[in-house]
Amino acid sequence: MRAPRRDGSSGLGEYVVNVTSMDYAPGVANIEGKATAITVLTPVRRGGPILLWIVFWAGRNLAFTLKKLEVLSFIHYARWTLIKRFPDGDEGDGQRPNHTYLFFESNFNGTWDQYIDAFSEVVALRMKAIWGTSIGFPGPLPVEPFKRYIRSNEYVANHYWSAYPGHTTTEIVSAGRVEAALAEFRRTSADLDPDAFSAAYASFLTKVQRDL
């Protein structure tokens, strides 16, 4: 039962799209305004969890490893985790499949293709470090096999929600800078005469114009 099929159907009817085929187009449930959800689960080869433990330790403790994700300025939130057991409804620890599974989710703005392109090109080594232990992973480059791999291991969200669907990551980060600059300008311009205020305002606008 529930054997996923390569044609993208799950055997559970039209409402469960649990495995995607290579030509599957992401469902609208993955999109909320400008935000897109990606949900990927990949089986990890034996020995992989130990390597991933090191990779994730580095991600948590070496600032530069995640800094690069900030360069990909369209990711709001992302997470990785390892799943060794799946709850089966019985008393006990649940089902332990043959493989540990690597779970990845991201909340980003832009298209799926842009996202995978950027991941593949900008953080290729990190992608290799994270998914290199996943069975069937073709490598981040060239990008087409990588996309096919993600597609075939991706799940479509049945419901997806964002608190600010109309805004991109860049807008939010920029807005934070504008807010801070405005607070600073208000503090430093409170006692200025009109001409000095006008000059200070011009400087403020110059400072924040790339964030507007």
């Binding site: 529930r2 996923p4 559970l12 409402y15 469960v16 649990n18 495995v19 449930a29 909320e32 935000a35 949900t39 689960l41 089986p43 994730f56 948590r60 995640l66 994700l69 990711i75 709001h76 939130y77 997470r79 990785w80 985790t81 390892l82 799943i83 799946f86 709850p87 409804g89 089902q95 499949p97 043959n98 493989h99 599974y101 779970f103 989710e105 069975i135 069937g136 479509v156 969200a157 049945n158 419901h159 997806y160 929600w161 964002s162 608190a163 600010y164 669907p165 805004h167 939010i172 980060v173 807005a175 504008v178 807010e179 405005l182 208000r186 200025l192 205020f197 924040v208 964030d211 507007l212």
Partner: protein, 182 residues
């Protein structure tokens, strides 16, 4: 407390994987698919939530040559990216914010105790919570309210800049004081 790897700045990740009752996968997926989005989503009533999703997992994918895995039970994945340091208070927001929708959803899952009791609901979510190994937040120091405030301030600054382009210094200063009082 949430797991320590579930934290980035003040933001937290929550990952909950619950077993779907035998034969309930389609009914659950159908319910979730039919939920209204945006402001009408039940998640809009759950304070402190930045992004959240439900995903019905029928089975795992396996592309290798060896013995393939099949899950004994379908799984309901719920993930959230939320504010604050206290998982229990967020789970309570989830329970009260979702209201009847919580039962409509998780009653398709084995062992779900219902949403009448705060402690039992939280215990069920905690039991099925999986800690993140790595969690990234681009603006993890910002709460939902702070994000919205920042966006509003940015919008006000843009509007003011556009409307004040030809103002003389004294008029500019007065207009600024009106636009950004306090």
């Amino acid at each position: 407390m949430n797991g320590r790897h579930d934290i980035c700045g003040q933001a937290h990740s929550l990952t909950v994987l619950t077993p779907i009752r035998e034969g309930h996968e389609s009914a659950l997926a159908r319910y979730l698919n039919a939920l209204d989005g945006g402001r009408e989503s039940p998640l809009s009533r759950v304070a402190r939530t930045h992004f959240a999703r439900w995903v019905v997992l029928g089975d795992v994918v396996y592309e290798g040559k060896g013995a393939r895995d099949h899950l004994k039970r379908g799984q309901l994945l719920f993930t959230s990216n939320f504010d604050g340091t206290d998982l229990d208070s967020y789970l309570e927001s989830l329970r009260t914010g979702l209201g009847p929708a919580a039962d409509e959803i998780w009653s398709h899952c084995s062992g779900y105790p219902g949403s009448d009791g705060a402690a039992a609901f939280a215990a069920y979510m905690r039991k099925h919570h999986i800690e993140s190994s790595l969690f990234f937040a681009a603006y993890g120091e910002k709460t939902v309210d702070e994000v919205k405030t920042s966006l509003s301030v940015r919008r006000d600054v843009i509007n003011f800049a556009m409307n004040s382009q030809a103002m003389a210094p004294a008029a500019l200063q007065a207009a600024f004081a009106r636009a950004f009082p306090g």
